[in-house]
């Protein structure tokens, strides 16, 4: 039996500053040991427990696509003890990773459907993984139309600008990138995500909406999706929770009888409606 509390050593291969405030960075990690990499097979929407010896661990959604199993990308905002320690790490440093954990996005529901991705701010990470996964030539045919609506406070706060640019040139997705307030250089959409969602009005026919963002964005996006005809069972959401063990033991991430680390973090809005509102 492998000790589930032991992190796999990984090396930070590359650190990318994602936003103007420079408090969000993407860390590209490679496993020090090939065997570890082979046992870390993840799906879209799963997360890893990132481990900085001396600081501790924190759960972070995996932002890279599972089509790239050679490395992991995790996008991290400097917030608490561990994320601050991570931000102080330099390329080449060794940190640890446990996982992958969680259920991931429901691929059986997503495959064969049109997918509408609604993301706000920094919470784009696992949906970015999903977007890249769907766009991969091996997978694209198994999904219907793809709509991505992504917003941030300001142009400087948009993350994954390199992806956004690459996607803008494609004709197999509808991309709406918006900001709450633009600047002189901004020529794109201006408006809150729920507003843009309403204007874009993606069809709910045979569609699934995946929504991740700040609570306020989710709160106002759900009624729009409802209006567009998305049933609660076809809206999926990924929750954030304080976690420690990641394996359903330490007891802090539960919402009712569900453990977000094990039974989640991805739930349909219908499931959430039937769960206590403790998130």
């Amino acid at each position: 039996m492998r000790n589930p509390y032991l992190p796999y050593p990984v090396v930070i291969r590359k650190i990318t500053d994602e936003n103007e405030a420079r408090d969000i960075k993407t860390f590209e990690l490679v496993f020090r040991d090939d065997a570890d990499r082979d046992s870390f097979t993840f799906r879209c929407g799963q997360f890893a427990e990132l481990s900085v010896l001396g600081a501790g661990e924190c759960p972070i959604g995996i932002a890279s696509s599972p089509m790239e199993q050679k490395y992991l990308q995790l996008t991290i905002k400097r917030t608490g003890v561990v994320t601050s320690a991570l931000h102080n790490c330099e390329e080449g440093a060794t940190i640890g990773v446990r996982g992958p954990y969680g259920n991931g996005f429901p691929m059986d529901m997503l495959e064969g459907s049109n997918v509408v991705i609604v993301a706000g701010g920094f919470a784009f990470t696992t949906l970015r993984s999903l977007t890249n996964y769907i766009l991969h030539p091996d997978n694209r045919g198994r999904f219907g139309e793809l709509t991505v609506i992504y917003g941030a406070r300001s142009p400087g706060e948009l993350i994954y600008k390199y992806d956004l640019e690459a996607w803008a040139g494609r004709d197999d997705l509808q991309l709406y990138v918006t900001v709450d307030a633009g600047d002189e250089a901004w020529t794109g959409l201006v408006g809150y995500v729920p507003t843009i969602l309403k204007e874009a009005a993606p069809s709910s026919d045979n569609a699934v909406a995946a929504v991740c963002g700040p609570p306020i964005m989710i709160k106002f996006s759900i009624p729009v999706l409802d209006e567009l005809g998305f049933p609660p069972g076809r809206i999926i959401n990924s929750l954030e929770m304080r976690m420690k063990c990641g394996i359903g033991k330490c007891g802090r991430c539960n919402i009712g009888d569900k453990y977000v680390c094990k039974d989640g973090p991805v739930f349909t809005f219908e499931e959430l409606q039937n769960m206590p509102g403790e998130y």
Partner: protein, 337 residues
Amino acid sequence: MANGKWQIASLKIAAFLDDLLKAHRVFAPVKRDGLVSFEPIGRGDEALLGFRNSKRSPKEIFFPCSETLFAYQEGEITVVPLLEERRVIFGMRPCDARSLILLDKVFDAPDYQDPYYVARRENTVIIGLGCNRPLSTCFCTTVGGGPFAVDGLDLLFTDLGDRYLVEAITERGEALVADSPHFREETTADVNLKAEIAARAEQAVSGPSVEGVKEQLDGMYDDPFWDELHEKCLGCAVCTYLCPTCHCFDIVDEAVNAQGRRVRNWDSCQFPLFTLHASGHNPRPSGKERMRQRMMHKFRYFVENFGEVACVGCGRCVRECPVNLDIRAVIEAIRTS
């Protein structure tokens, strides 16, 4: 399953424990600073036989208050070796033994096993001591146990006065006594006397039934019931830390420079920090949500996940709550709300 029965003279128990000490680390109830606790003993006669129950629950022999998961220096990890020594716990009460069955469901789950806990469980034989005189705060019978219940035990000892009836519950329990010279064949009188004592003890235990509590709780998440219940709760962790079934923990690093260890400490759902996000958001922001979580977890969520309530009726939280917030009264209030 084993079904051997013996008797042992009360005066021989120390010698039996001395024999066990040759090949095992033996934990037994001892009194230290006026408090009874389960601790490793060096000699058989250190074990206390006439105790009611220990202050702290013996769960800590499997899931300690604080333990190192691994240590590290300059990025190199040294794993704490898993327990290999053979251990015996003598004198565990049936309620506490039952709690281990419940903890197994969490720590020895089919998906992930906790190696530290599992190793300790595998290497520890448990000798139970039936409760001839349950305390007024005991309510084991109402939560699926009993003063002479055998769940989680390898052997059950029953105090018959000058001798103990010994019943094997498992093969490994039986192996402990099979070759020991201190045990004699039991008599029908012994067995009958035990049955009598057990029946009397069972009679003496009372408490609120948990029947229907889960179903009641199913509809109570938003009930105003929780608004006032928590008002007197101080928000300490006496109830959860003394509870033999509570098992929540925290994982933290303790390090100076590049040297340190990753530690697992008990944690409690009654602390605000338990669920506080780094962002400042707290899904359980007040005592109300935290108290509700404790009750819901024990009597609803655990039942949903594992089919049993996460309470063994040991009464520790009842006795020790600094403000006498009595879980029995809460259960009763839920039942009748």
